[in-house]
Amino acid sequence: MKIVIIDYGAGNIQSIKFAIKRLGYEAILSSDTEEIKSADKLIFPGVGEASSAMKMLKSTGLDKVIPTLKQPVLGICLGMQLMCTYCEEGDTDGLGIFHADVVKFDNQLKVPQIGWNKIYDLKSDLFTGISEGEFVYLVHSFYVKECAETIASTEYGVEYTSAIQKDNFYGVQFHPEKSSDAGERILENFLKVTQPNTIK
């Protein structure tokens, strides 16, 4: 199985690579369009600021490539946010794969949210073997609003989307590579997805 982590200069991709290795697979980092198109599974990571990350995607042409991919794609953290319609951070349009907006947490809360929180209302094969209310590790200041494509929710002052799916595209707000055994299981579930499945 060819696993490619899309490398566009955003964030800590080493940890994702190591987590995949702990599961017994090898992942390669690439920004090459052909390499990306020929992958069996793709991870779309991201840490940092939305508008500058979108600029990096545009400068490499990946903003056109990613929405056309047919194989399973997993966006992580900012990666998931960039797959949405619009990001309030830096006032930028996203890739428009998921039909949801990304907005900032209320100022009454500590921002960023840093730490372990629960995921619930789990609705995807991504969560096979994962209990309702499982803890995952999150670090973010902006969140994806709940929508028809939401497959997991989390509460932090507001109920928001902590995982999302549309056809072959998956997104998780949390860091599966840093979410202990549960995170590794979710990552493994993604690597075992055989064909795009719809929301149950």
Binding site: G11, R22, V47, P112, G115, Y137, V139, S179, S180, G183
Partner: protein, 251 residues
């Protein structure tokens, strides 16, 4: 609901753990990676590695260690100690650190906080503040708390937040090493005046101290070293006790 975090801190010198640790099940008591794995399995929410070595070789050794930890450990970890430039941070993050912690270098060059936050994002920039209450005023101290400044803790903390830090690690030099509890009054002020998470450090001696720092001190996370290293407190027992006291934890 977001849970309160328990963070063991490992002091590192030349790639090895410094403070004595009392883990009989460790093959190599000086190996930070093995210790980190044990903590991850025992329910720690995060880890902090504080590098106290001062040699020229340090950066390379530390980067190698970070890489080895990232390969093995599936919870987040922060690396601190002697970080003073964008390049220092870049190499640590590229090797798999989730966050870095800066301290004296931020006081000497506050713009560093802005630069790091702009380049890497606030979420991976922790600013550590060591402070001591002198004649009623909390003053920031440098070089592991040895050198006093005339900077007020609360003003500095506010500035650190405004400059883009994602989190503050506050160590009270009055409490550190006493095992008599955290500096909860100062922590509560920090937590209510600031809008970023506050990690309490210095003074942990028993489980009640952790309850107090979360409830009275309103801390978002609590860091300790020796009580965990010497197994005076088991993280799982601590979390059960916290939960009994109404503190939300990951169990």
């Amino acid at each position: 609901m977001l849970t309160k975090r328990i963070i063991p801190c490992l002091d590192i010198k030349d790639g090895r753990t410094v403070k004595g640790v009392n883990f009989i099940d460790l093959r190599d008591a000086g190996d930070p990676v093995e210790l980190a794995e044990i903590y991850a399995r025992s329910g720690a929410d995060e880890l902090v590695f504080l590098d106290i070595s001062a040699t020229e070789e340090k950066r390379k050794t530390l980067a190698n260690l970070v890489r080895r930890v990232a390969e093995k450990v599936n919870i987040p970890f922060t690396v601190g100690g002697g970080i003073s430039s964008v390049e220092d941070v870049d190499i640590l993050l590229k090797n798999g650190a989730d966050k870095v912690s800066i301290n004296s270098s931020a006081v000497k060059n506050p713009d560093l906080i802005n630069e790091l936050a702009a380049k890497f994002g606030s979420q991976c920039i922790t600013v550590a503040i060591d402070a001591k209450q002198v004649n009623g005023e909390w003053l920031v101290h440098l070089v592991g708390g040895k050198v006093p400044t005339d900077i007020n803790l609360f003003q500095w903390a506010k500035e650190v937040e405004e400059r883009g830090a994602g989190e503050i690690l506050f160590t009270s030099m009055n409490n550190d090493g006493t095992k008599e509890g955290f500096a909860n009054e100062a922590l509560a002020v920090l937590s209510s005046e600031l809008n970023i998470p506050i990690i309490a450090s210095g003074g942990a001696g028993n489980m009640q101290h952790f309850c107090d720092t979360f409830i009275e001190g309103k801390a978002d996370a609590a860091l300790a070293a020796s009580v965990f290293h010497f197994k005076e407190i088991e993280i799982r027992d601590l979390k059960e006790e916290l939960r009994r006291n109404g503190v939300e934890v990951r169990l």
